[in-house]
Subunit: 342 residues, 2 copies
Amino acid sequence: MNPTIHDVAKQANVSISTVSRVFNNPDSVGKEMRERVLQVIEELGYAPNPFASGLRDNRSMVIVAMIPDIRNSYYAEMLSGIEEVALSKRYNVIICNTIQNEERFLEYVKYFVKKKVDGLIFASTEITEFYKKNFDALNIPVVLASTEGRAWDLPSVRVDDVQASYDATTFLINNGHQEIGFISGPSHLLVPNVQRYEGYRKAMQDHQVPVSEQHVVYAEMTFDAGYEAMSRLYAKMPHLTAVYAASDAMAIGAMKFLHEQGLEVPRHVSVMGFDNLELSRMISPGLTTVAQNIYEIGKSAGELLFQGIENRDQDLQSVTIAHEIIVRGTVRNRRLKSDSER
Amino acid sequence: MNPTIHDVAKQANVSISTVSRVFNNPDSVGKEMRERVLQVIEELGYAPNPFASGLRDNRSMVIVAMIPDIRNSYYAEMLSGIEEVALSKRYNVIICNTIQNEERFLEYVKYFVKKKVDGLIFASTEITEFYKKNFDALNIPVVLASTEGRAWDLPSVRVDDVQASYDATTFLINNGHQEIGFISGPSHLLVPNVQRYEGYRKAMQDHQVPVSEQHVVYAEMTFDAGYEAMSRLYAKMPHLTAVYAASDAMAIGAMKFLHEQGLEVPRHVSVMGFDNLELSRMISPGLTTVAQNIYEIGKSAGELLFQGIENRDQDLQSVTIAHEIIVRGTVRNRRLKSDSER
DNA sequence: CAGCGCTCAGAAAACGTTTTCTTGCTGAGA
DNA sequence: TCTCAGCAAGAAAACGTTTTCTGAGCGCTG
């Protein structure tokens, strides 16, 4: 078995209180004693038993990351950022695939109450009163990642979706496109779809490009749904020159549909995505898209959470992460004559 | 604060021993008492404090999944399977991005000794004596996922790489290909690369197709490395009609190179991958590949681990997961005349 | 020189379980 | 009727910390 604080105390000929103090508040113990204890600790390879400390002061050194699906590389990337900062703080991360499922969520929450996790990063879905109530009951710091929290007074880390979407749309307009269709996420998922829709619409209007519900279709934010959504959009807008999809997965699904219709990207139709997933650069041509620095979102969320853990009554400030247009090969510049003649 | 076992005991007018027994060994307590206690438990929403139980019997109800990189969808998928069975056993999973880094590995291992995790699933790299020694020191059940363990007497869950690779190569041969290049993973990573190489070579030989080192290039198993490896392979084998890559990421990288060279897939060159990543079906044309049921690997590894946790001295039997050829659009059948005339 | 306060270290309580040991009671067999 | 076995429930110890309380020793001040 591992050495305990008693073993160290006996070996160093001090009391266990002294050993504990050496660990937690070294300045409060005299130099010679401290050094003797330190040496024995080293010698025996002593480390405090986390169960005992946990029992004593209800800290588990564990945080929880709640995400919809770890198989989605967006969340995997985010998790990677969270994990990085947790490791540096000597915390562990436990992951929860909520699968957008309230029952499963509850299952986990019930669990955390017992486990006394020290903090929670939530990246799953729209926050409803249901979630908010459960968070409150948990009574630990909560940080939202890539989802909205202002209405519920929860700190969040995310990109400015309105602005990012505005920039993406403007990019298409600046490349000479006017007939720009928009594949939105499902409208019932408020975040981030309202924001991305708003950014798209605002950009169109600001540049005097006509826009209406005729330009928009709604779908789940997946590859398959994007494929299917593109067929609907194409039926509504047979003359579109560009498609802007609210996620890369949808954009790539849309590209597959266009490809099957014999429409070349970007010669006949330009495509713009959102997310900058790893795979966006793997396809040919590479997908032009809006990059969220997802890793950074995870990292910031982690840092924010630890702020809250280390200083329980501090108010946490939401953070906005910068976005960036990544230009690859799926948008054609219609303003270049040579290009349009190709 | 949460109700304790004492609260329950007082409320139900029994001793705490009885309450504990109701939880852990219900049959040993009389019916009426049991029911009274059960009711109070329900009423108060009591649940045992895991620190206290952990302190008492050194069980954490936590298992660890060690993987190279959660951002790699292969491992994300595997993790998803692990997580599923852990949840059903009411265990938590903590993840460790080892990043193929021994120092980082040690950092984690040191941690687990303290945390007293109950089991470990290792999916990182080739097992060396270094790892094996650390596993032994941990003194908990260890299961290997998608890596080899026989030499070290560790149970593993994986596909039969030799057979799978044999099948993939045979598929290409049966489609009329003879000049088949092979993009292997780096030779220093023995598993699974020796096996896949062996399967390829064996299939070629069994079908009387000439094969030599001229047909093979080595690269890291990533998209970028696959791109670069394809350029080397193409230089060595300008007349190849098919490429078989030991991972989908490499295969897709290779496709990008071919595309840039003006070579169409599958018209000029056929491509076959290995893994069946999510993104393999997203590209156009869809990648023909060998499917590992990765989720199943994770799930089986989890189940095997829990066998070991629940029965410590049982010998765990390694498990082989079935593989399958997924036919999509990147392999042309050269035996069909109409096809070759297109 | 006496008394006061301050510093540093030890004693002990508390955290919430699980499980062994003990005890009291019931029922059966002699 | 007495004794012994068996069973059900309670008492108590143990797991390893952290922290508050206590007390000893010492230096400074009046």
